[in-house]
């Protein structure tokens, strides 16, 4: 594999870049935040993304998608990350589309995929149960009751969970917390009886919810794929999600970095441009190098995903760790190098540090993935 974009991916990137710069500059996100928008993403903007085919990038052609792969969706997320574009693209176009297309039954694919492509539904993946990501520790129960399952418990930090029409839920049908076996994924409509969504107010002003389940009834047809294979499936779905999120985080970091370099070239103190100070130059150069390393890790992970590499898990943890650390560094340094203006709400940089810390938590922090990388590397 070559670590360069194909022409097709370059085209997607250019389209996404134009869209994000013109249609969803950071002022777009700021406006949604200021008016405390219900979804924290704009329905019309999402429909425009759908028209560009983005919700169907991971959907096979027979269901109306383009099947451009993780590489296709990642370049789009990277560009959207540069302007902090809020949308259900990650929860629906990555997680929902990938989960259903790869693990759903034929019936489920026919039922959901065309609606994802057409923008008729959005989806969310409900995995976490506590303040730290750890899918194996799932104790959320789905108990068999005659011909149906009863779901009881609480899911936390569900991305776009406050608005999703369809939920994919990780539940334990047997075994104990900590075991890979005995996990099952369910796919259910969010307006089902017994389901209570509590919208979360997070630092990054995006759409999240905690979801309570009280005797929510599920039929056998609502098992995603087959029973008790959910542990393996969800790890795979999460890895694709981690890689796509790393691409978005790379975009966040590139943008905050560019803003900072521009500032160093125009801000004057002591009668000179602050970009002439070596104390700042060297830190800027170090950030440049970290971003270069992140680009390589993300690109390798993206290709590993599309080529079904047996290194996929390790590459996913590599990308999520590096993207998390780089964005962490850049979002801190960007504020410090800007000085006072960097900590004002009026200036956009604050959005990046808030997004950074929330994105770091999504599907495992850098600490979680460093541990996982060590396990997968045999030490």
């Amino acid at each position: 594999m070559k670590l360069v974009l194909t022409e097709e991916q370059e085209f997607l990137r250019d389209t996404a870049k134009d869209f994000a710069q013109e249609r969803t500059p950071i002022t777009h996100f700021r406006a949604l935040r200021d008016k405390k928008d219900k979804n924290l993403w704009d329905k019309d903007v999402w429909q425009e993304m759908v028209k560009l085919g983005w919700s169907g990038i991971l959907v096979p052609e027979e269901f109306g998608g383009s099947n451009f792969g993780v590489a296709g969706i990642s370049v789009i997320l990277q560009e959207c990350g540069k302007t902090l574009t809020p949308s259900p693209l990650f929860s629906t176009g990555v997680l929902g589309a990938y989960a259903i297309a790869n693990f759903g039954t034929q019936e489920q694919k026919e039922k959901y995929l065309p609606k994802i492509v057409s923008g008729e539904i959005t989806t969310a993946l409900a995995v976490d149960e506590s303040s730290h990501h750890d899918p194996l520790k799932t104790s959320f129960k789905a108990e068999k009751n005659n011909e149906e399952y009863l779901l009881n418990g609480k899911k936390t930090f569900v991305i776009d969970g406050a608005s999703a029409d369809v939920l994919i839920v990780l539940a334990r049908t047997s075994g104990n917390s900590g075991e890979l076996a005995g996990l099952t994924l369910f796919i259910i409509d969010s307006d089902v009886n017994g389901l209570n969504r509590i919208k979360l107010d997070m630092a990054d002003s995006r759409n999240y919810a905690n979801i309570e389940f009280n005797d929510v009834k599920c039929s056998n047809q609502e098992i995603l794929g087959t029973i008790e294979t959910g542990g393996e499936s969800v790890e795979r779905i999460l890895d694709i999600g981690r890689i796509a999120m790393s691409a978005e985080m790379l975009g966040n970091a590139e943008s905050a970095f560019e803003t900072t370099i521009d500032y160093l070239k125009q801000r004057k103190q002591f009668g000179v441009l602050i970009g002439t100070f070596q104390a700042l130059q060297h830190r800027a150069a170090e950030m440049f190098c970290e971003i270069e390393l992140t680009k390589s890790a993300v690109m390798a992970a993206v290709q590993g995903a599309d080529e079904n590499s047996n290194e996929l898990q390790r590459l996913s943890s590599l990308a999520k760790t590096i993207a998390g650390e780089t964005l962490h560094l850049v979002s801190n340094e960007a504020i410090q190098m800007h000085g006072g203006i960097g900590v004002t709400d009026e200036y956009d940089l604050g959005f990046f540090i808030k997004r950074s810390r929330v994105a770091e938590q999504i599907f495992g922090s850098s600490t979680y993935h460093t541990e996982r990388y060590a396990n997968l590397s045999g030490f």
């Binding site: 130059q281 150069a285 440049f288 992140t294 390589s296 060590a374 045999g378």
Partner: protein, 396 residues
């Protein structure tokens, strides 16, 4: 144009006939291994090292792309790939290590006159003359262009006076390529020339430098009224700085490969060292603090390796990224050695004597040697300056 498959067959047959058994994989381990640098003072523990060098040198295959008229192999890129593949297939040893090949030859090809190329290239390629590099001076480290070793034009030759430092293997080399000041009144970058000097000339002397890691190939080299013929000037008078810069790029690319576990410190694996000395439980390094530090380092190393690959896949947009690779390669190498000695514990700081094994004592020396990696060939701070100015365009 010869058919490539025919060429492959020819190479195969030639290697089969000419590559001595001890120069290939599967060689008898009791035969001593030479580090072959060639030159007038070369000594060989294994006579086959010399035979292999002479045969490859005569073919011009130590520098296969150089035209035959200068003693090279005259091969095109596809043929070189085939030669490398066939040498790799039999595990053939590189016949010659040479600063002449890595550094001087590219400069001669670009800046040398026809006479200079014909005089020097064949001797480099055959390993007859061993070269060393005279750049740094006691007063000119990072600020190399301030160098003061002067070469005065006194009619039919230059008269050279001054001192060079960090000249690797000067005590073993036959000739030196040196930067000298020929224009004392010109601005500092515009008064430098690139001069070739025979180390046997009267007035040249060397003295080895002992490093914190012990013995080293580095020397100080002194020039005391050394007479150098005019025809030894490469390029124009006072135009040596451009040549020096071109040459530094080659050196940086070479040093940065250390960060990938090649070069110095190769053969030492951080994880197995930690498992051996710190301990292992269920396949994991048993101390979680060491384990997490090692994991963080491994992740960075992995990403760095991928960045190397990406640069290659993108077609290697050279100079700017060369600084990044030099910086990260050397800093990672230092970090890796710090982690290795920490994991090795007391034995990781062993110096001498029979209470410690050779492996641990060598690690101590190797760790200390890495401290020079981020200084030689341009310090890490100089690389950061290059990135901030040339890549990021920050103002001066």
């Amino acid at each position: 144009m010869q058919n490539l498959e025919e060429f492959r067959k020819e190479v195969k047959e030639w290697l089969d006939k000419n590559c001595p058994p001890s120069m290939r994989s599967g060689a008898d381990p009791s035969i001593p291994v030479d580090e072959v640098w060639g030159g007038r003072k070369a000594e060989y523990k294994n006579p086959e090292s010399k035979i292999w060098l002479d045969r490859m040198g005569a073919k011009g295959w130590t520098m296969p792309t150089v035209p035959k008229e200068y003693g090279g192999g005259g091969l095109n890129a596809e043929q070189v790939t085939i030669l490398n593949q066939e040498m790799f297939a039999i595990g053939a040893k590189q016949p010659l290590l040479s600063f002449g090949i890595w550094m001087l030859a590219p400069v001669l090809l670009e800046y040398g006159t026809e006479e200079q190329k014909k005089e020097h290239l064949p001797k480099i390629i055959k390993g007859e003359i061993r070269w060393c590099q005279g750049y740094s001076e006691p007063g000119s480290g990072s600020d190399l262009a301030s160098l003061a070793t002067k070469a005065e034009d006194i009619g039919n030759h230059f008269l050279v006076n001054g001192q060079k430092v960090w000249t690797s293997y000067a005590d073993k080399a036959d000739w030196i390529f040196a930067l000298v000041r020929t224009g004392p009144k010109e601005p500092k970058h515009d008064g430098i020339s690139f001069l070739l000097i025979d180390m046997e000339t009267a007035g040249v002397s060397t003295k080895p430098i002992t490093l914190i890691s012990g013995k080293s190939p580095f020397c100080e080299t002194f020039f005391d009224d050394v007479e150098v013929p005019k025809e030894n000037l490469i390029g124009q008078l006072n135009a040596g700085w451009a040549i020096a810069k071109a040459l530094l790029q080659h050196e940086r690319a070479f040093i940065s490969s250390f960060g990938l576990g090649s070069g110095m410190g190769s053969g030492r694996d951080l994880v197995s060292i930690a498992k051996k000395h710190v301990g292992e439980e269920d396949g994991k390094i048993s101390n979680s603090f060491y384990r997490s530090q090692i994991a963080s380092h491994k992740i960075k190393e992995h990403a760095f390796g991928l960045t190397f690959k990406r640069a290659k896949d993108e077609g290697g947009k050279a100079s700017a990224t060369a600084s990044m690779f030099k910086l990260y390669g050397t800093e990672h190498n230092k970090k890796r050695h710090e982690l290795m000695i920490a994991a090795t514990g007391i034995n990781g700081v062993a110096w001498d004597g029979d209470e410690f094994n050779k492996e641990d004592k060598n690690l101590t020396r190797a760790w200390l040697r890495t401290k020079g990696n981020s200084i030689e060939g341009g310090t890490s701070e100089v690389q950061l300056n290059v990135i901030s100015k040339r890549v990021l365009g920050l103002p001066s």
